[in-house]
Amino acid sequence: MKENIEKIKDPIISTRNLSIAYDKGNYAVKQVSVDIKKNSVTAIMGPSGCGKSTFLRAINRMHELYENIETEGEVFLNGKDISKMQVIKLRRMAGMVFQRPNPFPTMSIYDNVIAGYKLNGIHIKKKEKDEIVERSLLDVSLWDEVKDSLFKKGTFLSGGQQQRLCIARALAFNPKVILLDEPTSAIDPVATSKIEDLLVKLKKNYTILMVTHNMSQAARISDYSLFMYLGELVEYGKTKNMFTNPKDRRTEEYLTGKFG
């Protein structure tokens, strides 16, 4: 199995024997050891219930929200053990974007972008706030669309715009890594392609780790792909290689649509 896992030098994220169980002994993620390359787009693929989301959430410790969850093994972000980091610092370094766009309904577009600062009670100057808002919205190519309505509610935007707003909210903290949990599954095709372009653009400054159900999306935008099945990491390597020449039979069957 080892030969199916690509070795990466200077990874930004690495997991060592990471196992996660929702109930005792019922593992959703089994012994996953993987290194994620800096400034790349890495797609996590696999059929429903294979532990993709759980694995992703383990990286910023969002999985700890579930009761009775048990985690074994280690996760390193930027060389540091995340279990020893403060949650707020960890989540500032690893921003997260969810399946459904979830801007805060009570906040304006402006406040949504700096929500991380506002809600945590981090005081920054007005000028700095303006800069963060402009930079983050420019990064997600939303600035031109909303610059005249920054103080309108974020929920007035279209689904695709809302999702880009949520990405901007994650970017506002200037994270190292952006974790995306099927970010386009609730969004129309045109908005999806905008977000895909955006992710490719963002990898210059950030590392992107994305769960996706959509194989063609993984093929279009990811540099590396990770295939999981029943909680195990089956195969990990350059997307091109994996799609043209999968090493594991299960990967091949999934990619050719035999299951999943």
């Binding site: 910023n60 989540r91 997260m96 979830n102 945590n120």
Partner: protein
């Protein structure tokens, strides 16, 4: 053959249409029956009470029996108003809200956060039971606790405590239900930004569900505003405006009861009821409006 079949089909169609009309007529009729009491009540109150309503009615205290008797004998309007009742109701409702809202909202949050826990289920059931306790019993309890125990006499505080206990289960329920309506994803969004749990509740969940919370509170207020029985045992009543919470205090529903018992003041019943009903109706409409505008 064919023509026979056609007639039978047509017969059935005719019967179905007739049935449909009959049922529709019944629905309309029963709806009318349902809404007619409220229309009749409002009409009666307006017709009988409107004459008495004036500025004086709101800013003056209740008249003495003798004054009222003379006025009625001379065919004039009864002088004076129900300022003591209005201020008493406002004072006691405000105090009851101050007691019940924080406790109710915090309990509601607790129930929302720990849905399956034993203590939460127990609390929820107790709140349900509390809602079913007759209000006169709550008055009795407040009498024992506050009138006998704290203020050594009938007082606004005792009235407020009994009203607060009535209001509590409503606020607990509405808080829990409102928070349940907020999508889990909103909570996740805040947590993914590293926001500590208590700040997620204070700065995200409560503002997001604010109109829902307010709806519950307004409904609770409109409910306790008309309560009479517990106040008879606790606040007792007063002929003057009183803002001292340790003294007996009047309230609009208490005054209505007093007017009912005094043959000279009967016409004040209608105007007081009209005022009370108007305020309660307004609060209900307002909370409805808020509920519609919430997510």
């Amino acid at each position: 053959m064919v023509s026979i079949k056609r007639t039978t089909i047509r017969d059935h169609a005719h019967r179905r249409i007739l049935k449909d009309k009959l049922i529709f007529g019944m629905v309309i009729f029963l709806s009318m029956v349902t809404i007619s009491p409220i229309i009749l009540i409002i009409a009666k109150l307006v017709i009988n009470g409107f004459r008495q309503i004036s500025l004086n009615f709101i800013i003056q205290n209740t008249p003495g029996t003798f004054e009222a008797m003379t006025a009625v004998a001379n065919g004039e309007l009864i002088p004076g108003g129900i300022a003591n009742g209005i201020t008493g109701t406002l004072l006691m409702v405000a105090l009851a809200s101050v007691i019940a809202i924080p406790i109710g909202v915090v309990t509601g949050i607790f129930l929302y956060e720990n849905p399956g826990k034993f203590i939460a289920n127990l609390t929820r059931n107790v709140a349900d039971i509390l809602q079913g306790i007759p209000s006169i019993v709550l008055g009795l309890i407040a009498y024992i606790w506050v009138v006998k125990g704290i203020t050594n006499g009938f007082s606004a505080l005792a009235g407020s405590v009994s009203l607060a206990i009535m209001m509590l289960p409503m606020i607990i329920k509405s808080t829990e239900e409102t928070l349940k309506m907020i999508p889990q994803t909103i909570k996740e969004a805040a947590l993914a930004l590293g926001v500590p749990y208590y700040k997620v509740i204070l700065k995200v969940l409560i503002p997001t569900g604010f109109s829902g919370l307010l709806t519950g509170i307004l409904l609770g207020i409109s409910r306790i505003m008309g309560e009479t029985a517990p106040l008879m045992l606790t606040a007792l009543g007063s002929t003057v405006v009183n803002f001292d919470i340790s003294k007996p205090t009047s309230a609009i529903p208490l005054l209505i009861w007093e007017f009912y018992n005094d043959p000279n003041m009967v016409s004040l019943i209608w105007s007081s009821s009209l005022l009370l009903m108007g305020v309660v109706l307004l609060l209900n409409l307002l909370s409805r409006q808020l509920a519609n505008s919430s997510i």
